[in-house]
């Protein structure tokens, strides 16, 4: 079992060695786009177990300021519910962040492995309360977490709960050096622009971003996380994570939203719990309670269980982190249904680039992530955010129609929805191809695949229904079937034209290259 160094209030900080040779890597326990998390031992520290997040620095092309700020945040935070770094140092092109090893892994991986339908309300209360303490501390320090979700809540073998992954966190006290501007004037008016986090958990104002976001965006994500713990996954996660959908759908999260998805299970939750979640999921950020205030909510006041409670009720009989990671990896390879599990596993202690990949969770194999991210890089996202500044209601009323440009990301309203359908379909092809490819080599699990395909079908049907609804709401309901098809045809045509254009460009480039070559050989 992991040896934990207990950090007292004013710890005499144990100095971990800043040299890779002092560590022995045992196992990979998580992987993201630009980071891998290992279980390792620190040899000079009595072989104590640690987790090492190795971030590939060359993957983050822009300057390294984000990584610097993350490292700084980590080393200056000190709270029992926050996962600190022991130290960090560079090894060639990687940054190694040495952290305590949280042997029970993330709450999401625990759910995926042993509680697919969600946790008991008592367990939820304990986990959330500890998380909320961390959040209250962070907010008090002027930090936003920006990626609260079960995948970032870690549990140790002794039942202690820690919030991790500050890869996308931002500080309201940091000054923007490059522009010399003062980000902060007072916490109540603090606004962050930029786009970070994971779609299912994102607050509406973050998705739509006409107001930037404040500490209250974390509260929204906290509410979604509560639902995630209760049901085993976040609401609407059966839909592909596209931003335009979210712009509409973040408007109506209810407990009842799950009814359609898993009708058979009829879980009962207390009034206090429902009330607490409802407060967090208020559309109006200013009406959501602060973390501090939320801690006083009756749902948490009633909760006085010790960490032992989690050990007995959550951790018993759980496969260890390494096993779970391996299992999820195997499952994830062929199962279309794997995105939540994969997501989680990759999130165990997450890398900063990962947000891009997370968003493209619809793609189920690793190559797919690179091939077809649903959202492109961060910078472009900023642009998108600017483009889709229509505000919630307007978007749906916007007359979209034909002129849609092919890029799903920039087209607002139902255009986006149509695009999504088209995109999903193209994804299916890719996925089928990929499966075909795998099939030749190693065979595949029919059952898993069938299950996955059925799920995909259902998701597509859901999508279709959404599209139909939008069409109906625009008064175009009669021959929706055809118009839908036409839309797709048009989309197809446009994509084809674009392909031609690309080919043309390619050709031009090639001939340019030729001329260069001939010029060179002439010299």
């Amino acid at each position: 079992m992991a040896q934990k160094d207990d950090q007292e209030d004013e710890p005499k900080k144990v100095l971990y060695p800043l040299d890779p040779n002092s560590y022995q890597i045992l196992d990979e326990i998580g992987r993201g786009m630009s980071a891998i998390v290992y279980k390792a031992i620190c040899i000079p520290m009595n072989n104590s177990t640690v987790a090492i997040k190795a971030i590939d620095l060359d993957q983050s092309r822009s300057d390294l300021d984000n990584i610097r700020l993350e490292a700084k945040t980590l080393s200056l935070l000190s709270h029992q519910n926050i996962l600190n770094a022991h130290c960090s140092f560079t090894v060639d092109q990687s940054l190694w962040v040495v952290m305590p090893f949280m042997s029970a892994g993330s709450v999401q991986s625990i759910i995926a492995s042993s509680f697919p339908d969600g946790l008991s309300e008592l367990c939820i209360a304990v986990v959330l309360k500890e998380t909320l303490c961390a959040l209250a501390y962070l907010h008090d320090q002027g930090h936003l977490h920006r990626d609260i979700k079960a995948g970032n809540i870690l549990i140790d073998s002794n039942g202690s709960v820690k919030l991790a992954d500050f890869g996308v966190s931002a500080s309201i006290y940091e000054y923007n050096l490059s522009h010399g501007s003062y980000v902060s004037s007072g916490s109540s008016s603090l606004r962050f622009t930029g786009f970070a986090g994971t779609p299912y958990w994102m607050a509406p104002e973050v998705v739509i971003s006409h107001s930037g976001y404040s500490l209250k965006a974390d509260i929204w994500s906290f509410g979604i996380t509560a639902l995630e713990l209760a049901h085993g996954r976040p609401p609407l996660s059966h839909l592909p994570p596209s931003k335009s959908l979210f712009m509409k759908l973040t408007k109506r999260f209810r407990f009842s939203d799950y009814d359609k998805e898993d009708g058979k299970k009829n879980k009962k939750f207390s009034r206090a719990f429902k009330d607490m979640v409802g407060l967090c999921l208020d559309q109006d950020p200013s009406k959501r309670p602060s973390a501090e205030k939320l801690l006083k909510h009756s749902f948490f006041r009633g909760c006085s269980k010790s960490p032992d409670f989690l050990v007995k009720n959550l951790l018993q009989g759980l496969p260890n982190v390494e096993q779970r990671y391996k299992e999820a990896k195997i499952k994830g390879q062929f199962s279309l249904d794997s995105r939540s599990e994969k997501d989680d596993q990759e999130d165990i202690m997450e890398g900063e680039k990962v947000k891009q990949r997370r968003i493209s969770g619809w793609n189920f194999n690793v190559e797919g992530f690179e091939m077809e991210p649903v959202f492109p890089g961060e910078k472009e996202e900023d642009d998108i955010v600017k483009q889709v500044r229509f505000g919630g209601e307007m978007i749906i009323q916007e007359k979209g129609g034909e002129q849609s440009d092919v890029s799903c990301h920039s087209s607002p309203g139902q255009d986006g929805a149509f695009c999504n359908v088209a995109q999903d379909i193209s994804n299916v092809d890719i996925q089928n191809l990929a499966i075909g490819g795998e099939n030749c080599e190693g065979g595949y699990n029919k059952e898993v695949m069938l299950k996955g395909l059925l799920l995909l079908k259902k998701s597509l049907e859901d999508q279709r229904e959404k599209v139909v609804n939008i069409i109906v709401s625009l008064g175009g309901g009669v021959d929706d079937e055809r118009s839908n098809e036409e839309q797709l045809k048009q989309m197809n045509e446009q994509l084809r034209i674009e392909l031609e254009n690309e080919k043309g460009k390619n050709h031009a480039l090639e001939s340019m290259l030729q001329s260069f070559k001939s010029r060179l050989s002439n010299e």
Binding site: G186, S188, F516, L520
Partner: protein, 346 residues
Amino acid sequence: MKGIFKSKPKTPTDLVRQTRDLLTYVDRVGIESREPKRDEKMADLGKLIRELKSILYGSSEAEPVSDACSQLTQEFFRENTLRLFIVCLPKLNLETRKDATQVVANLQRQQVQSKLIACEYLEKNIDLMDILIAGYEDPDMALHYGAMLRECIRHQSVARYVLESEHMKKFFDYIQLPNFDIAADAGATFKELLTRHKSTVAEFLSKNYDWFFADYNLKLLESTNYITRRQAIKLLGDMLLDRSNSGVMTRYVTSRDNLRILMNLLREQSKSIQIEAFHVFKLFVANQNKPPDIVSILITNRNKLLRLFADFKTDKEDEQFEADKSQVVKEIAALEPKGNEHEQAG
């Protein structure tokens, strides 16, 4: 001792005074003191500094009030409070250190009657910079002092002092400290020093050209440490491409030693380094008065360079980059040997 706090402190001026009194006490008794009430006083001090912070930054309930801020600032710099903050910082606990750092940082930007009185204070107490810079040698203090330091060098006169001091040489080591967070913080300060105040930087670079670029090449651009090379080449580009440093740039691109280093960086595995190196390399090529030895190096390596640039791309489409690249390719392709040297493609 409770007496002081019986009537709740109200004005920012009072708060600063009480803080100063307690800091004076902390400064005197030392950290291991078992003096009675010490813990209590430390706790009070923590609360006071937190109150100062919430006046300056506002809180979740209230925006900062400019009147209160300027009262606080005035009282703060009326006496030697900043020195006490800095000197006593190691004796405070982590949370109070962070608050204190944010207070000091904020005060650098507070104007009283449209004057930056923090700047005036620092000019008279410039030795405080020595303490802050030396903080990089103490892992416990580095990030706090580093954050304060970066705020202080926003004042041009303070930055000039640091640039002209012996400390400048130490930064070449600080930015390569094994602790990533500290090294990165020192790197941020170093960059700020060399980019913020254009005229001061230009003056510094031309006066200190020889030792500075010798060290820069040897210790940074040719470091064995990836992150050092990457940050150094980026910063070099930022400096040389800045119009105010054009004199320095012109000088830099006439040295064959510099060209050799840049060409090595162009060949790095790391795409990020390659691309940053290109932005400096292009200056050597674009120079219309290339010395003969530069020309001959370029000609000797012409084929290799052209081959390299043929599949040299940024991740995202970048028109400017492509334009620069084709310009460079054109220039190199058209180079004629100068003087008696012969072209030896190969």
